[in-house]
Symmetry: C2
Subunit: 203 residues, 2 copies
């Protein structure tokens, strides 16, 4: 049916070209979205002076847990007022699910909110009000090679307006407490059933 | 270069076929992964008898908020003991961000955990213990056309082991309270700063 071997070559070349294009198309569309939903776009950024910029997109990261230290149980002024919404970036969560470990590059965000109400139709208790603060921790064996466990801690403030970019806190301010009291690699997994359930071989 | 118009027709057919295959490949790979990370795989399933099976994958959905009704503030036995971790499926969250509305098909999950500790290095308060319960609400104008607001409510139990599949609760058990007390379309947005911040034109 075909006129010559040159024709066949041309057709094969065309087919290969289209197949290649299709492959590139799939490659281009999939990885950023499929492997780690918001992680690529949302992971942290450092300013030229080394300060950490406010993380973005973390509210669609994986929720880890929510300790509550209300002001009314802490002499009117909790160290972390009051609800602590804690998130981990999705890729690091996927890694943790496989290994039970926090990979190099793990980012965790702790967003603080006030207590808005102490009574609702579901009962007496504590109900979230407004956002008040934002803290971030990052494990990075290169950038933070001198921090214990390679974890660095940042606070954008516990009262709005938050700072746009901040230097890491001294190890004595945050790292030391995490090192001494957190159960799993500087992370308070003892208060995070989501992490315990996700770890391999957990109950 | 080509021998006949039949050859050209055959080649065009082949190219169109490959292009079509490529398109199908892209379609097959992308939507489940890119548009809504875990939603396609994780959205709810009904048993043949109409009961709702336990939702899966919701711990990587979008965290909405966490009311707390501890037993110790509710006569030793809260109606919803004790932390309520509330999630919304990612596609419905994306729709809500655009419109401020809960789309038909919205699924929300409320996972209950016990209070594990009332004192930690961060202060006095409430810290999560273990998973204890699981509730789900679904807005569906076809399946639940007779429910007020089209919202149906399911409880898999507030004590482990949970039930594998359950019928919806009568409207008087859950829907009525949501209808009367929740601020936004049967959802308690007054306690969910994440939702308020995500809605269009919100502060």
């Amino acid at each position: 049916m075909l006129g010559s071997s040159r024709s066949v070559t041309a057709i094969v070349a065309a087919l290969v070209g289209i197949a290649g294009l299709s492959y590139m198309l799939v490659k281009a569309v999939v990885p950023a979205a499929a492997v780690s939903p918001d992680a690529k776009a949302a992971l942290v950024e450092f300013a030229p002076d080394g300060k950490l910029k406010q993380p973005v997109g973390y509210r669609t990261w994986v929720f880890v847990g929510e300790p509550l230290t209300p002001n009314d149980l802490n002499g009117g002024a909790a160290n972390f007022p009051e609800f602590h919404d804690v998130y981990i970036d999705p890729e690091s969560f996927a890694y943790y699910k496989k290994t039970g470990e926090f990979r190099d590059g793990t980012v965790m965000v702790k967003e603080l909110t006030s207590v808005g109400s102490k009574k609702a139709s579901s009962g007496n208790g504590y109900f979230q009000g407004e956002f008040t603060g934002l803290d971030t921790s990052i494990k990075d064996s290169k950038r933070f090679k001198d921090e214990p466990g390679y974890w660095a801690y940042f606070s954008f403030g516990h009262k709005y307006p938050l700072k746009a970019a901040v230097s890491k806190n001294p190890a004595s301010a945050c790292n030391q407490c995490h090192q001494e009291n957190a159960k799993t690699d500087w992370v308070f997994s003892q208060y995070y059933p989501v992490l315990r359930a996700a770890a391999p071989h957990s109950k």
